[in-house]
């Protein structure tokens, strides 16, 4: 299928006797915002970890832009165009905001180890470019004034934006967001929704996200997959999912007070 940027085919993940993922197949359409939801422990983050090659699935394949990437080394997914954020924001605490973003550009840097020592023109040029690109990115997300603060000195919402910007710096084609709205108040969540929509358009991305907050997911995703106990129980548009009896009963046990 040409317009699927990501396909997971019959992915299963077993940890000893525990079946975390059971024969899951899903597709993410290019330029869409696709969601992955399900009650706690359904296997959503595990699914992400399989997609980002942090876990090798016991069975099944992960196909990115037509290429089978199952079993790739995790750091190799970035050059091919995938980047992710984490459920509990994982910025580099001892680095400044600017340096965090500059790390995102690490892949673009071409100079060899001896060049910083000899201060070659290529080194100086690429260092300057990296810094400028990082500033530009910060400008786009309205955080340029905070460039030299330690990452931990920002508000939670700002940190999340920096984490997403850092992922954007790798020029991904597919951006995976693991519960980006976790820990945010309603206003921050609305701002985040707009933010995600905007970066999707201006950076020409596809977004695949995990989220717990129903309003958030329904408000932003075109297609949603639902997991429960490691299996896919439903897929469809937000309207279809909302009416799906299996989905409703899976969540009935959950305290769904967050929206």
């Amino acid at each position: 299928m040409e317009n699927n940027i990501l396909s997971c085919e019959h992915v299963s993940m077993k940890f000893g006797g525990l079946v975390a993922l059971n024969d899951i197949s899903l597709n993410v359409v290019k330029s869409s915002i696709t969601g992955l939801i399900g009650p706690n422990g359904a296997g959503k983050t595990t699914m992400f970890n399989v997609v980002t090659c942090n876990l090798k699935p016991t069975m099944g394949k992960v196909i990115f832009e037509g290429k089978d990437i199952t079993g790739y080394k995790p750091y190799k997914i970035v050059p091919i165009g995938m980047a992710r954020t984490f459920q509990n924001i994982r910025l580099f605490e001892n680095l400044t905001v600017l340096e965090n973003i500059m790390i995102g550009f690490a892949n673009k840097v071409k100079y060899k180890l001896f060049e910083p020592i000899l201060k070659t023109p290529r080194f100086l040029k690429q260092e300057k470019e990296t810094k400028n690109k990082a500033y530009e990115l910060l400008e786009k997300i309205n955080l340029k004034e905070k460039a030299h603060l330690k990452a931990t000195g920002l508000s939670y919402g700002e940190q999340r934006k920096v984490e997403i910007a850092r992922a954007l710096a790798t020029s991904p084609k597919l951006l995976l967001l693991d519960e980006p709205a976790a820990g945010m108040n309603p206003n921050e969540k609305i701002a985040l929704m707009y933010f995600i929509k905007e970066i999707k358009d201006s950076f020409n991305l596809t977004v695949f996200l995990i989220e717990h907050d129903m309003k958030f997911v329904m408000g932003i995703c075109q297609k949603i997959y639902v997991l429960d106990y490691g299996a896919k129980i439903a897929e469809g548009t937000p309207e279809e999912i909302q009416k799906n009896p299996k989905v409703i009963s899976a969540y009935l046990g959950e305290a769904n007070v967050k929206s």
């Binding site: 983050t45 992400f48 970890n49 942090n54 984490f86 459920q87």
Partner: protein, 297 residues
């Protein structure tokens, strides 16, 4: 030739049992805290010295001295954890390792200052006296007792780990410390217990070691400690039975290498390290193959 091999085998099993006793402490601490307790080998030394002073300074009968030494060493381990490790339990792993190195160095030099660097002769308990001679095979009595004691202790420990509340708590912490504490288990007490058991076993190892190679000095724990860690990794770090197996394999291999290649005798101690590198290269999860990396995502 056969008798030599048999002789060496027995030596190896004896040495291996000693490594096993110390390795168990390493592996248990690594299991629950994901830290390499550098000071563990020095705990062996502490046990040996306490036993020595029990007999020579306090004139206790050997069995009383040994038991007291073992218990006090266990408590020293608990104290060490409470004072130096607990405060930084949640800091980076490097911080814990650095502190452990500091504690190790501190213990070595404390005993150096208190008791001097001159090796002291360790009194051999009457029960361990003597050498049996069977068809040209010389069996020091202590070499027979050592594996038996080690096996018995191992069996008791495995029983505790699988059949008692605290033992199960230990294994649970090794899998997921945060969830375990959320389930109402007092993690601090369980960790203290782990250190108590590990240190007591190291003390047993220290006493038996000093009986076999009867001199003690403040730096005596370094080499056995290092080898015990290699044994723990060989067996599969985090796995108690694995540590015991690893210890035996190491002890026997060491002795056989020297038996077959006498010219390499001087390099005997380097063998454990070589084994460690090989294990890391080809089977990092060790003989028992446990995957110990905690959930990182």
């Amino acid at each position: 030739m056969l008798t030599t091999i048999l002789q060496q085998l027995i030596n190896g099993i004896s040495a291996g049992s000693l490594y096993a006793l110390v390795a168990i402490g390493y592996t248990m601490v690594y299991g629950v805290l994901r830290m390499i307790n550098f000071a563990h080998g020095d705990i062996l030394m502490v046990g040996a010295y306490l036993a020595f002073f029990g007999i020579s300074a306090f004139m206790l009968p050997w069995w009383a001295s040994f038991i007291t030494a073992i218990i006090i060493t266990g408590l020293v381990g608990v104290l060490m954890e409470r004072l130096a490790y607990k405060p930084i339990r949640n800091a980076s792993r490097v911080s814990l390792l650095i502190t452990a190195v500091g504690v190790s160095f501190f213990l070595e030099n404390l005993f150096l200052v208190l008791f001097g660097g001159v090796p002291k002769a360790f009194p051999i308990a009457p029960i361990f006296h003597g050498v049996l001679n069977y068809n040209q095979i010389y069996l020091p009595v202590v070499s027979i007792y050592t594996p038996i004691i080690a096996l018995a202790l191992l069996y008791m420990l495995l029983y505790i780990l699988h059949n008692t509340k605290y033992g199960i708590a230990m294994r649970s912490i090794a899998l997921d410390i945060d969830t375990t504490s959320l389930m109402g288990i007092n993690v601090d007490i369980v960790i203290s217990l782990v250190f108590f058991i590990g240190s007591s076993l190291a003390a047993v190892g220290g006493i038996l070691w000093s009986t076999q190679y009867p001199s003690i000095n403040p730096l005596m724990g370094i080499m056995p400690g290092l080898k015990a860690f290699a044994a723990a990794v060989l067996g599969g770090i985090g796995d108690v039975a694995g540590a015991a197996i690893g210890g035996l394999v190491l002890g026997i291999s060491e002795v056989l290498i020297v038996a077959f290649f006498p010219s390499l005798a001087g390099y005997k101690d380097a063998f454990a390290f070589l084994l460690l590198i090989l294990v890391l290269l080809f089977k990092p999860t060790g003989i028992m193959g446990k995957e110990l990396e905690r959930k990182r995502f």
